[in-house]
């Protein structure tokens, strides 16, 4: 009796597996012809907001594949001409530059490129910024005085800051900062800076982990993108924050403007709809949807962010544009030489 029921159980299980295998084989993204496939490496709130607005405005559905920008870029390179992706929205421009270098991106429409200042798009016209953010220093108010913070991000690589500075060599934004230092101060200065940070700083896995460590009192200072602090402030309540932002200004690489952005895949079979998506991204409605959801600066003149950020024209950032920052290969070479990667 027991044996029989057990055997039946086994048969039922195998049957279920078979049905699941056959039934699960269909791919929803391919069945629906009008649906755009968006590979998304950017944080989800702004992307979800934009997709909702785009679908409401055009009736075109978008299926999102979420991941890490660099991983998705690796995946797009592996997929090559067979990629099912139509649009790639990256958290950082180097991932876009990398797939552009492999010839995977199609040129954007001239009308789209005209919508925002040319500084925030690829020189080749294959990708365009969706929002700008800046590198900042996050500091714990109880652990350090604002006046004790240095004038340049390069100063953090010294003994005076031993064990006090968190940084994330993995983060694309940090790599961009390395490239900026290298472009502005020379390669040797960049290498010396990295070696100093390795010696005296603390390696974190991501900018957001570093910011949380500062907020939690584990460490005094973190090099980060501005919006991680705002995300945490939204989570904990702005009045409860133990940490604050410090903008260096002075055209120092400590204040560096970078962009998240998007491009259309050359292999896309729905390139018209994909071009429409990117055009919508830089339209007034699109820009508003994005900056309402994340503390990034709008790139389209006239759009206003609801976050209490330092005004964009008061940042006095490093004189380096996102297009100058390239595909991070130089940063990687430097990080490897400094034994950080």
């Amino acid at each position: 009796m027991y044996d029989v029921s057990r055997r039946q159980l086994m048969r039922a299980g195998l049957g279920f597996a078979g049905v699941s295998l056959i039934g699960g084989g269909a791919n929803p993204a391919r069945a629906e012809d009008q649906t755009l496939a968006l590979y998304n490496g950017q944080h989800r709130p702004p992307v979800e907001a934009l997709v909702a607005a785009f679908t409401a405005a055009t009736g075109i559905a978008v299926v999102t594949r979420n991941g890490n920008s660099a991983q998705l870029a690796s995946q797009l390179i592996e997929e090559g001409a067979n990629s099912p992706a139509d649009v790639f929205w990256s958290e950082e421009s180097p991932s876009l530059a990398a797939i552009d270098e492999k010839g995977l991106l199609a040129p954007l429409e001239a009308e789209t490129l005209k919508q925002i200042p040319a500084t925030y798009a690829a020189r080749t016209g294959t990708w365009i910024g969706a929002g700008a953010r800046c590198r900042v220093v996050v500091y714990n108010k109880a652990m350090i005085e604002l006046s004790a913070l240095p004038k340049s991000v390069l100063d953090f690589a010294g003994e005076a800051w031993d064990g006090k500075v968190a940084f994330a060599p993995n983060s694309g934004a940090f790599q961009q900062q390395v490239v900026a230092v290298s472009l502005m101060k020379g390669r040797d200065a960049a290498l010396a800076w990295l070696k100093g940070l390795r010696k005296y700083g603390e390696v974190y896995n991501s900018d957001s982990a570093a910011v949380e460590a500062v907020e939690g009192g584990d460490i005094a200072v973190a090099l980060s993108n501005n919006y991680y602090w705002y995300a945490l402030a939204k989570e904990l309540g702005p009045d409860n924050m133990n940490s604050a932002l410090y903008h260096m200004g002075n055209q120092d690489p400590g204040t560096l403007i970078t962009v998240s952005g998007a491009g259309v895949l050359k292999s896309s079979k729905k390139s018209e709809a994909a071009q429409r998506f990117v055009a919508f991204m830089v339209s007034e409605a699109g820009q508003q949807a994005i900056v309402d959801a994340i503390a990034e600066y709008p790139l389209r003149p006239g759009v206003v962010s609801p976050f209490p950020m330092k005004p964009f024209d008061e940042l006095d950032p490093a004189p380096v544009t996102p297009a100058d920052l390239g595909d991070a290969a130089d940063a990687l070479a430097l990080l490897r030489e400094a034994d950080l990667a």
Binding site: R7, S20, N27, T64, N66, A70, N205, E235
Partner: protein
């Protein structure tokens, strides 16, 4: 009756009983072997792309040495500590008169339901003390010891008590009986569990990233995040596979010549439990400490985030799709993995040949690879060779099977080693076909092992992250991927319901299959045996 069959070097297509191994079994065992070969080929091809100079330069770096040191330290420490705790807990709940054994048994399995990255976040939020290597060893041991506890407890339970009784009746003390009789017969289960823990440690990523411990896996992820030509990451992956070799062959050495089987089913009578006496309060305290470390802290923290935090309730509309996504990927994936593992285990038990031994070890070598590497290998190969299955469940299930075969193998083997081949041979001499003999005689005896295999694989698949992110059909989300993306955006309260549901769902198979594996019911027999 117990039998140890030696002769590991018998002819390849012959079982020890003289019957040739069926061709069907060989063919079926080729499927997992071919699957497992895919990532190995990919890693070697990619490493080759770096060129000899590149490979040597990578190996000679000071950083590579540092990563090697960290990886080995973590792997050995967590495996050793898990073996100690897992074995002690299994012995106390199966062989002693500890109060509340039934509850401790369940509590010792529940940490399986807590994904390591969730537990690590909880600990990390208590302060920086728990970051770094010592913290990682503590947290990962608390997460891993059930992988030792479960198979050892099952082995202790299903072991024929006759030998122990004979030993005791011959005047050997409890310690000598334990060392000479009980311990050796749990070695296959202990070894299999230790292997899984070791391989897990080699491939662990999320927890280590949170706890800021750099190993080969985090370095491989970093390479993928830093650059888009993966040769250097491939060289590190190849090194990681080399590290898995001693793990795989260590197990072979461990099980050399050890094969125990009992004849007849349901012979596992109860043995009188050992009295803990004065040690009892300390043992209980130990269990309480482990429960707090492994369960109390992570669950407490999860509850904190559920109740606190402004992002609470954000993205809740995704909870239905995420739950469906988790179940619709994990359940069939589990069955596929377990079914594929079965012929591999049977082949190894019936044939001591080269191919069998090779096929048996191969999955363990890949088990130490991060999901990312396996996923990218499948992207690379499927998009070139079989573009029509790319981003369908087929490829994802293949990845799951590649990643988690050893889990199924090890669990099934624990049961299979106790099933004597003779009974199937008896059935065949009585006129049953090989298939019917297998279904009616061997398969039911394997049920506890299959149950454990299904449980362990289902748990791993529920929490699997990187391969799912890369290979799942676009638009399919799971509880684990939702937790991951919300924590990525610092929205812990938003992540909490998904994490809680993930733990809850994982708790169901842990509970059901633990009871099934251990057949907990006959506690009455135990209490009757105690005067």
């Amino acid at each position: 009756m117990t039998r140890a069959s030696g002769d590991p070097d018998g002819p390849s297509r012959r079982g020890a009983g003289g019957h040739p191994v069926s061709r069907l079994l060989l063919v079926l065992a080729l499927i997992p072997t071919a699957l497992i070969a895919l990532p190995i080929v990919y890693v070697l091809l990619r490493s080759w792309g770096a060129g000899w100079e590149g490979i040597l330069a990578e190996l000679g770096r000071r950083r590579t040495l540092m990563l090697l040191g960290n990886t080995v330290t973590l792997c050995l420490s967590v495996t050793f500590a898990s073996c100690l705790i897992g074995f002690a807990a299994a012995w106390c709940t199966e062989r002693s008169d500890l109060a509340g054994r039934r509850i401790w048994r369940v509590l010792c399995c529940l940490p399986l339901a807590m994904p390591a990255f969730v537990a690590s976040f909880a600990w990390k939020s208590l302060g920086p003390t728990f970051q770094g290597m010592p913290g990682a060893i503590l947290i990962l041991t608390m997460e891993s010891f059930p992988l030792i506890f479960l198979p050892v407890a099952a082995a202790l339970r299903s072991m024929d008590p006759g030998m122990e009784e004979v030993s005791r009746s011959l005047g050997k003390g409890p310690w000598r009986t334990f060392l000479r009789v009980t311990l050796p017969r749990t070695i296959p289960a202990l070894g299999g569990g230790a292997l899984l823990v070791a391989a897990h440690m080699l491939s662990e990523f999320g927890a280590l990233a949170l706890l800021r411990v750099q190993t080969f896996t985090t370095a491989i992820f970093q390479q993928y995040e830093l650059q888009f030509d993966n040769a250097s990451a491939a060289v590190l992956s190849a090194l990681l596979m080399l590290l898995c070799l001693p793990v795989a062959f260590g197990e072979m050495w461990l099980r050399r010549g050890v094969r125990f089987s009992k004849v007849g089913r349901n012979t596992a009578r109860r043995i009188a439990p050992a009295r803990l006496g004065r040690a009892a309060p300390f043992v209980t305290l130990g269990f309480i400490a482990v429960a707090i470390l492994a369960l109390g802290v992570p669950f407490g923290r999860l509850l904190y985030w559920l109740l606190k935090g402004v992002s609470a309730g954000r993205g809740l509309e995704a909870i239905g799709p995420a739950l469906y996504g988790s179940l619709s990927l994990a359940l069939p994936g589990t069955l596929v993995t377990t079914v594929i593992a079965l012929p591999l285990v049977l082949l190894v038990l019936r044939s001591r040949g080269m191919f069998a031994r090779f096929a048996d070890r191969l999955p363990y070598i890949v088990h130490g690879l991060p999901g990312l590497v396996v996923a990218l290998a499948l992207v690379y190969l499927s998009i070139r060779l079989l573009p029509s299955v790319y981003q369908t469940r087929v490829v994802l299930f293949a990845a799951y099977a590649i990643l988690f075969l050893p889990l199924a193998q090890s669990a099934i083997r624990a049961s299979a080693e106790l099933v004597p081949r003779e009974i199937e041979e008896v059935a065949r001499t009585l006129g049953r076909s090989p298939f019917r003999a297998f279904v009616s005689v061997t398969l039911p005896s394997l049920a506890p092992g299959l149950g454990a295999a299904l449980a362990l694989v289902a748990l791993e698949l529920m929490r699997e992250l990187t391969a799912t992110l890369i290979l799942a059909p676009t638009g399919v989300v799971t509880l684990a991927t939702e937790v991951w993306s919300h924590t990525n955006d610092s929205a812990y309260a938003a992540a909490a319901p998904f994490a809680a549901l993930l733990v809850l769902i994982s708790g169901i198979p842990v509970y059901i299959f633990t009871l099934r594996t251990l057949k907990v019911a006959p506690d009455r027999a135990l209490s009757q045996a105690t005067p």
